[in-house]
């Protein structure tokens, strides 16, 4: 899987790159409009992370160029502007997703995962790890082909974990994922702890070949057994 990061801020670019390398992706970077334009005209990428505000150009123009070549559907816009205009414009130009800075690396992983899944398994949006299959469209979990009932939040949490296999997810990142945007009271960790406890119990009972480890005080990590 080849991913291009178009981001002018060197520190952020390197951080994202390092994180994506851990996911075993092939990662290329571009720091400005011109080099990004060059790369997207020559190469094909499975996913492009696109910052809107770039030196010597606007990211939306790059998106337009990609749309012309029919390659805009695997673009995730990462912008510091939580601007409705840009969001609407970007999505209208075919971008797949819009992620507002600052974000957790786990969140970025989940979004990239979703784009790659949609790209590679046309029509069927599933995550498969060992004997566990999570159907994102139908919102169902099957372990060894047996349907396991999850409530909405349990499903969301498992989805997040599976998209971040073997990666550490902090409690904060998880809370934000569960409660969504402009949440003011993300301090409700008890609830999340309880959901994960139930989730672990269900996985264990069904003999799933994955396990959610708890790293005390910090967060969680999903690994294969």
């Amino acid at each position: 899987m080849k991913i291009l990061i178009i981001e002018d801020e060197a520190d952020l670019r390197e951080t994202i790159k390092e994180s994506l390398l851990k996911e075993k992706y092939i990662v290329e970077t571009a720091a400005d409009f011109t080099s990004a334009f060059e790369k997207i005209s020559i190469y094909d990428y499975d996913c492009i992370l696109l910052d809107i505000m770039l030196p010597n150009g606007n990211g939306l123009d790059l998106l337009e160029e990609l749309k012309k070549n029919g390659k805009s559907e695997n673009v995730i816009i990462i912008s510091a502007k939580n601007s409705l205009d840009d969001k609407v414009k970007g999505l209208a130009l075919g971008a797949d997703d819009y992620l507002t800075k600052p974000f957790h690396l786990a969140e970025l992983n989940a979004r990239i995962n979703a784009v790659l899944r949609r790209k590679n398994f046309k029509g069927k949006d599933c995550i498969e790890v060992e004997n566990v299959v999570l159907d994102i469209q139908e919102r169902t979990l099957t372990i060894d082909n047996i349907n396991i009932h999850l409530n909405k939040k349990e499903f969301d949490i498992l989805n997040y974990f599976l998209s971040n296999k073997n990666r550490l997810i902090t409690k904060t990142a998880l809370a934000e994922y569960v409660w969504g945007d402009h949440i003011d009271q993300a301090d409700n960790f008890d609830f999340i702890y309880y959901q994960i406890k139930n989730l672990r119990k269900k996985l264990e009972e069904s003999n799933a070949q994955i396990i959610i480890e708890m790293i005390y005080g910090i967060g969680y990590k999903l690994t294969e057994k």
Partner: protein
């Protein structure tokens, strides 16, 4: 009061005064003129009679008016010589009117064949009260005709003349700075209106510049702060995954990530507040608040079950309003989240929709909060250190931007927030 009506009132008052003064003067002039001409006629009659007396002396025996308009009585010489011609008004019985009517009479004396006579010539006079009455009604009808014609002129001609003005007014009313509209244009060659148009356009351009630079500032501020925060969070998350980290260090890093997250939420909330106050949410739609609230609640099913909080929905009325959908969402979700997170285990939440109000009441901390400061920025529950203390300020800012009233009250162990939507209700 409309401009047309105001000018009508001024014109009517002026007409009233002018016509009033004019009619009094006119009345006296007319009366004088009538007297003058009647007096001339009486004098002429007297001369004719005196000439006639020479040829027809029977006239001297005319002692009564009878059918004629004169009478002659013989008088002594002394009396006759003392006589001066006198015109005067008097009353006399009229057979046809069966009443006393005003007449003008001329008393004079003359000499005929060494005999002296007194002659009285009369002429009927215009009835003064009739004259006053007639002229009064004429004046009144003149006044009415004038006012009516002013109304007509106002409505047809002036309206036409003022058309460019109303045109500018309408364009200004619907002008929206965020929509990148063209400048105001009117079709007129009247100097004042062209000046008005230019002044309006200058003002619009200045506000537009201010609006855009403010918008840019919020967005730039966002960019400048968000990227460093993103780097902090990203780098710390990578650091946390490194293998040779002591437990304590990992804990510290997790803690800092938590704090960076708070910083991020704070920044997002402040930006949201700035955007609301800059009125950057202008799209409006008809929204059912019942639906919005129910959608929001469905996100919290599991949490409500976990906290064993009971939800009571009283939606006998469908509350439909015209507002920005994103703002409606934020407004209700802040209040609902508030009611959930500040609730206690086994508590309850009651949400009521009336025909114009949204009320959310919840159990919780048994102490009343200060209703005067609760909507202030950074006013927060000191035990919840992760909260930004901006949630209610954001709700308040949204209410202010729509001129809605938001109230907090504490009664019967319930914290209640009430919003009255009566000035943005959707027309049914």
């Amino acid at each position: 009061m409309k401009l047309l009506n105001r000018s009508l009132i001024y014109l009517s008052a002026v007409f009233f005064i002018i016509i009033g003064v004019w009619s009094v003067i006119f009345y006296f002039n007319l009366k004088d003129e009538i007297r003058d001409s009647i007096d001339d006629g009486l004098d002429n009659n007297r001369l004719l009679i005196l000439i006639k007396v020479h040829s027809d002396s029977t006239l001297l025996g005319q002692n009564e008016f009878g059918g004629n308009n004169f009478q002659i009585h013989p008088v002594s010489k002394e009396k006759a010589l003392a006589y001066r011609d006198v015109f005067k008004d008097t009353m006399m019985y009229r057979l046809n009117e069966n009443d006393l009517e005003p007449v003008r009479l001329l008393n004079s004396a003359f000499e005929h064949n060494d005999q002296y006579y007194r002659i009285t010539v009369i002429s009927s006079l215009v009835e003064e009260d009739d004259l006053i009455e007639d002229s009064f009604w004429s004046v009144v009808s003149l006044f009415i005709i004038l006012v009516v014609s002013v109304v007509i002129v106002n409505n047809f001609v002036l309206r036409k003349v003022w058309n460019p003005f109303y045109d500018i007014l309408n364009q200004l009313k619907t002008y929206r700075l965020d929509k990148n509209e063209k400048s105001i244009e009117i079709n007129s060659n009247i100097k004042e209106f062209i000046q008005l148009q230019e002044a309006a356009n200058t003002l619009i351009n200045r506000s537009k510049e201010a609006f855009l630079s403010q918008k840019e500032f919020t967005e730039n501020a966002s960019h400048e702060l968000q990227t460093p925060i993103a780097i902090i969070i990203g780098k710390l998350e990578l650091l946390l995954e490194s293998k040779d980290l002591k437990d304590e260090d990992a804990n510290t890093i997790a803690n800092v990530i938590n704090i960076a997250d708070r910083l991020k939420r704070l920044n997002n909330s402040l930006l949201l507040l700035a955007k609301i106050e800059n009125k950057q949410f202008l799209e409006e739609e008809t929204i059912s608040l019942n639906e919005t609230a129910k959608n929001l609640l469905s996100n919290y099913d599991e949490l409500l079950a976990f906290k064993q909080i009971e939800i009571e929905l009283d939606e006998t009325k469908d509350l439909k309003v015209k507002m920005n959908p994103a703002l409606a969402d934020i407004l209700l979700s802040n209040l609902i989240k508030n009611a959930i997170f500040h609730n206690k285990k086994y508590g309850n939440i009651r949400i009521t929709f009336t025909s114009e109000e949204f009320i959310v009441c919840n159990t919780g901390n048994p102490l009343s909060l200060n209703p005067d400061t609760i909507f202030n920025r950074f006013e927060k529950d000191q035990t919840k250190k992760d909260s930004t203390g901006l949630g209610l300020s954001i709700s308040n800012a949204i209410c202010n931007s729509y001129n809605l009233k938001i109230n907090y009250g504490f009664a019967e162990h319930q914290h209640c927030f009430k919003i009255n939507f009566n000035n943005i209700l959707a027309q049914v």
